[in-house]
Amino acid sequence: MNRTRVLGIETSCDETAAAVVVDGHEVLSSVVSSQVDLHARFGGVVPEIASRAHVELLTPVVARALVEAGIDDDHVDAVAATVGPGLIGALLVGVSAAKTLALVWDVPFVAVNHLEAHLYAALLEDPELELPVVVLLVSGGHTLLVLMEGHGRYRILGSTIDDAAGEAFDKVARYLGLGYPGGPAIDAIAMEGDPEAIAFPRAIMDDGYDFSFSGLKTSVVNHVRKHPEVATEDVAASFQEAVVDVLVTKARRAARDHGAKGLCLAGGVAANSQLRERLLDACVTDGLRGFLPSRSMCTDNAAMVAAAGWYRLQSDGPSPLDTGASPNLRLVSP
């Protein structure tokens, strides 16, 4: 059987990424150029700055991905790009470039849902993954509990009713003066703190699969105001413990209730050490298989886009060349 080499392109937020993946699992190259330094002084991603950087970085990033994959005079067999959800101006750069590459090379173009790509990050590293699995997708923009029943067959079990988990990390880190991005900053400083120092609330812990993090953020602010002498390490550790507690409890419950064979982590917050450790412990206790993509596959990258693109190409065929960006795309259309 012919091997299908898919070039994946990802520009939905502040990473410019390109990768070449064979048949949805063999990564030949994965290049990520982070713009985090460009946005750090603003304490968050500035859409116009992100879009400009994508225009500048995309050509060299794609060139490097092709060279590292050993594709010189030849070309790939398909081009996949994230079409949403994400920042409209940023998405359009990747979508436009990907469609043009596909047109010039005369190969299929595949539109990829960024959330679905995150689900495929785990499969990329573990193609034998046995379905159904429950995926906990946690990032700066999303907090979703998804039951993956088959390729392209998802059920959203729960989502956040206010802030995304990563957003809560960013906001609390900013309040504590730990800088941006907040996830790695809190992860690092929490190692030095006591996770049981402060009993922050675990919102709607015992009910359903939905999440809420905005009350937790307020509790952190109130606690620090009332106790200005409190050690930042303890605040960070206790806050992180509260988030991880809720995420792991609900993920376990979802896996048990739906007879899942495994639990899977995805999204930028999946790089959090405490979350990874606790989820793996839970899997051992519950007799589930735990799938933890490596940290570089959790954060935004194009290998997962190429992998998801390959599966979509098998199931749905190519996407039309008049495809645009869909900034509000959902994982499952309502």
């Binding site: 700055i49 500048e56 470039a97 043009t100 010039v104 090379w105 008049d322 645009g324």
Partner: protein, 232 residues
């Protein structure tokens, strides 16, 4: 030499293919806001109408702006990808040059003005020279009143062209020795792009895909706010 020209700097998307023989085929649409959806099929269509294969393209030309940022980036990102995939050089031409070029057969001063939104214009002054046009000023960003004062300051007759001139017609119409070019030529066109790029190609004014930069003329809002903050 075959040149593909891509222009998405305003509400119009246009693509043309041509070379020594002039423009072989072109297409344009100006329904606005659908640049990414329209552009890729438009490239395919223009090449088919010109009866050439995409692989025959030897230069990719693109409208560099100034213009509407999101649309502009669709064209620039596509043009870079095309040049990269074909392994051919690029040529960038400013949008205001493309507006002035088709109305060059006049002894008057030519003023190209693109609607920059937020009550401002991108504009520049031109004059006809043998074989084309010469830009007399930098690309500028300013209010219609700014441009009106500059027009008053010159004693020459002026021809105003572009969607910016049309949108703020009432500001300019009262001025003496001013004529505004009507809608048919209000947007930059890929036809002019191919012709101007051809002249530049003969002078070998190439740009590599990774060196080509759009002309924004405005900083991102966040940076403007940042630099005007008292603490900055």
């Amino acid at each position: 030499m075959l040149i593909a020209g891509i222009d998405t700097a305003t509400v119009q998307v246009s693509v043309a293919v041509g070379g020594h023989e002039g423009v072989l085929a072109s297409t344009s649409s100006s329904r606005g806001r659908q640049h990414a959806e329209v552009l890729t099929p438009a490239i395919e269509f223009a090449c088919r109408q010109a009866r050439i294969d995409l692989s025959e393209i030897s230069v990719v030309a693109v409208d560099l702006g100034p213009g509407l940022f999101t649309g502009l980036r669709v064209g620039v990102a596509s043009a870079k990808a095309m040049a990269h995939a074909l392994n051919v050089p690029m040529i960038g031409v400013p949008s205001l040059d493309l507006l002035a070029f088709p109305v060059r057969f006049t002894s008057r001063l030519i003023v190209a003005a693109i609607d920059a939104r937020r009550g401002e214009l991108f504009y520049a002054f031109y004059r006809q020279v043998p074989g084309g046009i010469q830009r007399l000023t930098d690309h500028q960003v300013g209010s219609p009143d700014d441009l009106a004062s500059e027009l008053l300051a010159t004693s020459e007759e002026c021809l105003l062209v572009g969607d910016g001139a049309i949108r703020y017609r009432e500001v300019f119409e009262g001025l003496k020795k001013i004529e505004i070019v009507e809608e048919g030529l209000a947007y930059p066109s890929a036809n002019s792009l191919v012709m101007l790029a051809h002249a530049k190609a003969l002078r070998e004014e190439w740009v590599k895909p990774w060196d080509l930069q759009p002309l924004y003329l405005r900083k991102p809002d966040a940076e403007i706010n940042w630099s005007t903050r008292p603490s900055a």
